[in-house]
Every structure is written in C-alpha cells, then in structure tokens.
Symmetry: C2
Subunit: 389 residues, 2 copies
C-alpha cells in the first residue's frame, strides 16, 4: 500500500508549492481536546478532575517531588509564554515587547542577501540559540488555524497572521529519553514541560534575530498554526502512527515551535526516511497506548472526532480516549513517544539500522522483533528517578 | 608563595562555616562599572558612546547580522529577566509571579527529607532543568550586596534578602567555545548573551522546583550577591587571574546564577584543582587583554578601583580600563575567557593534563609553552562565523 499521508506533491489552488497534501479546510483550534476541556460538556465533566483534584500519591513519579519537577519544567511557558493558550503574547509576541535595554541599535534596513544566504544564516543562528533541528517551509493557509480559543478568557476569535509571513522557520526541541522513559508519570511530564519552556525561549530568540536583520517575525508555540505538517514540510521528519512528528535523530522525542516571517528564504522539502513504512509494521505505540487511542490498522482519510483535522490519508488518533486517560492518570502521557523504536540515540548499530530502514522496508518486521527482544520500548515500569544516595 | 585568594578556611564573626575568606564589608553594587556608567561622570562621559552610538561596520563580527545574533541571544534577559539591573523581578522574582495556569497543585507542606537527600534531589533537578554545573554553599552576609542600583530608575536601595535564605544553590551555565573564540566581536558577545538568557531560564525553573517542594526560593542573576565567591565556595571552581570563576570542565567559559533558599541542604566546599598555581605561571589572559586590565604580577589584598571588592588576597582587575575598551570596541569583550588554557573540551590528553595540574605545579610552565606552541588561545583573528554556502 502506498501511503500518501502528508506526502503527495501537488500544486494546490493556493498556488503554493507546498510539498504535502493538506486538508481542504482550516482547523478551528477550539476543537482541540485541550480547549474542549473548557467548553465542551462531553469532556469538561471529567476533565475538571485533572485541573483541580490532583493529589500526590505515594509511588514513584506521582509524589510531591515528582510533580514539582513537572511544574518547574513548564514554568517559562506558564509564566512568560502563552503558546498553549494564545498566540501573539508573552515570549510569543509578534512584535518586540520592550526596548527597555537598548544598548545596541535595532536594524533599520533589511539585510540584503540572497534567500540561500539568509536561510543558512537563520539556521545557524537558530541552532546556536537552542534549536535541535531546524528547517524552512512555505506557510500553507490551510495549516493556519481558522480561529483560536483562549483557555483563560474563553474568547474565540479568528487568526490574523499577516499574509506576507509566507515562510515558517520550523524548530524541533529534543526531549531527553531519560525522562521520557518515565511516562506516564510526572518525570515524563517534566520532559514535555521542559520542551515547552524551551520552545518559548528558542522561538523568542530566533524571532528577535530575524527582526535584527530587518524582517518581521512571529514566533509561535502550539498556537496559530499546525506545527506537525509544517515540520514535515520543512524536512524535519515524517508523520508517525501515533500522530506525531518522527525525526531521524530523535524519533518522536521532540516538541515543535516555529517562527513565521516575511524574510525571503530558500525552502526545504519533505525528506522521508522510511517511517511510514516502518509504522505499517511496528505498531508498538498502538500496542502500548494505555487508552488504546492509536489506530492499529491502515491509514484512513478522515478521523471520527471533531478534534481530528480530516481530509488526508493518515493515522487518526482518538483524542477523547487519550485525554480521558490523562485525567485518570492525573497527568499527561507520552507512552507513544517513549516506546517508539526511532527514539534510539545515535550510534553505529542504530545509525546502520536507520540506514537500512531508509532504503528498504524488507527488514522492518525483523527490526521490530529485535527491538522487543532487546527489551527496548517497554511501557513504563515504576522505578526511581531520583538518586538520593 | 601560598595563595589564599578566596581559599583560607576560617570561622568568621558571623559564625558561618564559610569555606573562603571574604572581605569584611558588603559591596555596594552601585560601584560596579556598569552602574557607574550611569551615575559616575568619570565613566559616563565616554560610556554614553557604547549605549547610543553603535554603528555597524563592514568587517566580520561587527556587521548587522553579527550584532543581531548578540541582541537575540540576550533577549530573554532583556525582555523577561532583569538580573543585570534589578533583583527580585521578572524571571528572577523571589515569589511565584502568576498562577494563571495552575493545573497541578502547588505544594503546601515542606518535603520532609534529610538535607543530604534534598541536596541530591535539587541538584538532579537543576541539571535536568539546564544547569551545566551545580553546587551548594552557605550565604555569607558579606557576599550579599549592601545596596542595589537600578540602571533604569536610577534608584539606589538596600538589599533585603530574607535571613532564612541561608543556602545558595549555585549554577554554572556553559558558554560554547565556538562563539567565545570570536571575542571581542558580536559573535563572542552572543555567547555571553545566551549565557545570560539561560541564567534567567534556569534560575527561574530551579526556584520553581524548590517552591514546589514547599520551601522558599529567590532566584538571582548578577543581582543581590556576588556570584563568583559563592560559586567557589560551592565547589564549582577557583578564582582565576582574570578575576573570573575557572571551572574544571569548562574553564572560565561559564555564567553563574544562583537560587537562595531556606531549604536545609548539605553544603559543598571549596574544591581547588590547581588553577591558582597555574595562573601564577600562565598569564595568557593578562598578556592578551586588549586593554591590559589584568594584573600581570602577584596577588594583592586590595584593588585600586572603587569597583573592586578589596580585602582578600587575589588578582584585582582594572575595571575602568576594561570597560573603556568595551566602549572603544562598541561591544563587550571576553578575550580573557577565550584565551584561557582551561577552556579545553574534555578528552584523553586534556583530562590527563588537568590531572597533572591538579597534583603538581611543576609542569605548569611547560604546559603554557605547549599551549602556545599548539596554537591555542591566540587572541581573536577576524574570521567568518557564518557559513553562507
């Protein structure tokens, strides 16, 4: 079966040479399960427990010292960024917030370099400023949310990203396997939280850099536009069975942020490395998902939930079941990330395996069998994170 | 000669078992050269040029794309932290700023663990949250600034760190040699700026973690107290000839932040590894300092400037000459950091050399000669940072 999930090349009606097929409508972010937890009675009733009734438990990963790590890791996002609730605010502001310290002049003029040179410059700056992976793609209008829904104000309003912000610098932030392996407890949640805080940090600094070259820059976390298809179009990886970006270097152990800009840039393109074919065989994420929210079968062209962005051939997850487990767990879960065989750190054998997978799917079944045999990617077994000796 | 710089063990009149000798008075931060640039006519006259007259130059490291990297790297400190100008504000606030997102409960009770366990826990958390080195020391009152001077409001007021914040979790943040090597241009300045932004990030998150365990936490950048002697007392390194902390792993390529807390913690202590003796011989920082601000001779017990914190045997720098070069250079300078032989990355030969230096000073002159011979630590030769191919 040929999978076309976010992969068919076509020129669409928008005349954007976007390297993927995208749905023919813009997604209203109000339909995200996290937003529905505020306005949708179907979810709100049980979701309220997650927000207000958490108590510490006397088992590793669910105690005060574990929750405290998770909360600390999130704190830059909580205190200074609002990427999860609102775009164009805090560290994700689309304009420079303050000139309180202005020791060195801001750029007045646009730096006059070729798109290839500007791309190379911006990518080098992004890596220095904290990006673990960086790519550039065009901004397909259907990947911009139609509306945003603010969790605090409960306001619902259209997104108005300026039209001239036609490129996205897409940035992946690694989450460390040491902590992710503790999913679904608070140590795993800390890896996610640190990813979000680093998203706010890096997106803000990269946007500041682009402004310093005289161009406009709108940094963004989970707000404003769908990060995963943008990341795929920017060459950062493929869509995995679990519905997340799978990168070659870190597997799905990444968070994504992006900076929209009017800077003329050379665009990257889709760079598959065998993930889709591997996911057809592997199914470890689906097998180990504690809520069985991940599709065990073949890709389809639409999901069953209003939270899905239907219209392309891919694996759709069940966000209601997924979120319900979070509530039951009193914490977010990343088991689908932690069990993924693509998580392996670099090394001779792992790199050689990735190279085979890139070139042929013939050995995928063997690799999954071997992954299991070697004891990788088991679902979490409660163990101690803290060394208190 | 026996150097006692920040190293003599004694119980002082404060009855704090602080591992170093410290001056017998508290330093008024108004006397820092950066603050004097605002109020002291001796410096203000020429310093104004650095703040308002910068123009790009057509040479590597001083162009728009170079300055933009420096400004971007500083931006978290500029926008959201005020560690360089004011303590207890922004990301360095001594209390939690917002409970806007409060999905998981804050701790009400103090975590009941031994000081040894709490130290181990906090250090592991700090490393995860971004600290490259972490140690713990008692807070000697004479290392707390007597007063702070705000660069923007020009207000001058006493520091009132709560007395029960008797321990400091001291954190070092690495600056990468790739960028530091470009000192004194804007690429070198970007390494410094990123260090400051990361200080705000890490100090904020570590303080949040400590609060989550039920204790008080006051994060701090350059504000509130002298970071270098605290870092030395926390076992992070020794004072180098250039007046900065020299760590075993990164040499002087670090920035320091700290979190004061009332948590009962096991204290680290002074851990020399041969720096003072090596600095007696080496003198590369003094030789390559573009303004000849670094003492070329033996340590003394007092400096000649009101910006020095006199009263202990150490090398005092000349901050007026140093800062005057910054003004002439239109940028900050870290040449003394970039040329230091202790900057070497880990590796068999470097580690073996460090091991010899730790145990004997007999070969120090040879090592300095070898360092020169191998071409290390030359002052900056203009070269291109950006690969625009």
């Amino acid at each position: 079966m040929m999978i076309q999930s976010y992969s068919a090349h076509e020129i669409d009606k928008h005349n954007i040479n976007f390297p993927l097929t995208v749905p023919d409508y813009r997604y209203d972010q109000k339909n995200e399960v996290f937003k529905r937890a505020v306005w949708d009675d179907q979810i709100r009733v049980w979701a309220s427990r997650l927000y207000s009734e958490v108590t510490f438990q006397n088992r590793p990963g669910y105690r005060q010292l574990d929750y405290a790590l998770r909360n600390a890791a999130w704190n830059l996002e909580y205190d200074s960024g609002c990427g999860n609730s609102q775009g164009n605010s805090g560290l994700f502001s689309w304009t420079r917030v303050t000139d309180k310290i202005r020791r060195f002049i801001d750029a007045g003029e646009k730096l006059n370099r070729s798109p290839a040179e500007l791309s190379s410059i911006v990518k080098k700056a992004a890596r220095f400023l904290g990006a673990d992976l960086v790519g550039i793609c065009p901004v397909h209008p259907n990947l911009i949310y139609s509306h945003e829904y603010n969790l605090f104000t409960k306001k619902h309003y259209p997104i108005d990203l300026p039209e001239n912000h036609s490129s996205a610098v897409v940035i992946a932030i690694e989450m460390k396997q040491e902590e992710i392996a503790h999913s679904p407890n608070a140590i795993g949640g800390a890896a996610t939280g640190l990813g979000y805080s680093r998203m706010a940090f890096v997106a803000n600094l990269v946007a500041t850099y682009i402004r310093g070259l005289g161009y406009q820059a709108a940094p963004s976390g989970n707000d404003t536009a769908l990060s995963i298809p943008l990341a795929i179009a920017a060459g950062l990886g493929e869509l995995g069975r679990m519905g997340m970006l799978v990168t070659e270097k870190f597997g799905p152990r990444v968070r994504i942020c992006k900076v929209f800009t009017d800077m003329p840039l050379t665009l990257d393109t889709y760079k598959p490395f065998g993930v889709t074919e591997f996911c057809m065989t592997c199914k470890k994420c689906a097998k180990h998902c504690p809520s069985q929210s991940i599709c065990n079968g073949d890709p389809t062209v639409s999901g069953e939930s209003i939270s899905n962005h239907s219209g392309v051939l891919k694996w759709y997850i069940n966000p209601e079941k997924c979120y319900k487990f979070w509530v039951k767990n009193w914490l977010d879960c990343t088991n689908c990330i932690s069990v993924c065989p693509f998580n392996k750190p670099p090394g001779h054998i792992h790199d050689a395996t990735r190279n085979v997978i890139r070139n042929t799917s013939a050995f995928n079944r063997f690799f999954v069998w071997l992954d299991d045999l070697l004891g990788y990617g088991k679902p979490f077994q409660a163990k101690e994170y803290w060394d208190m000796s």
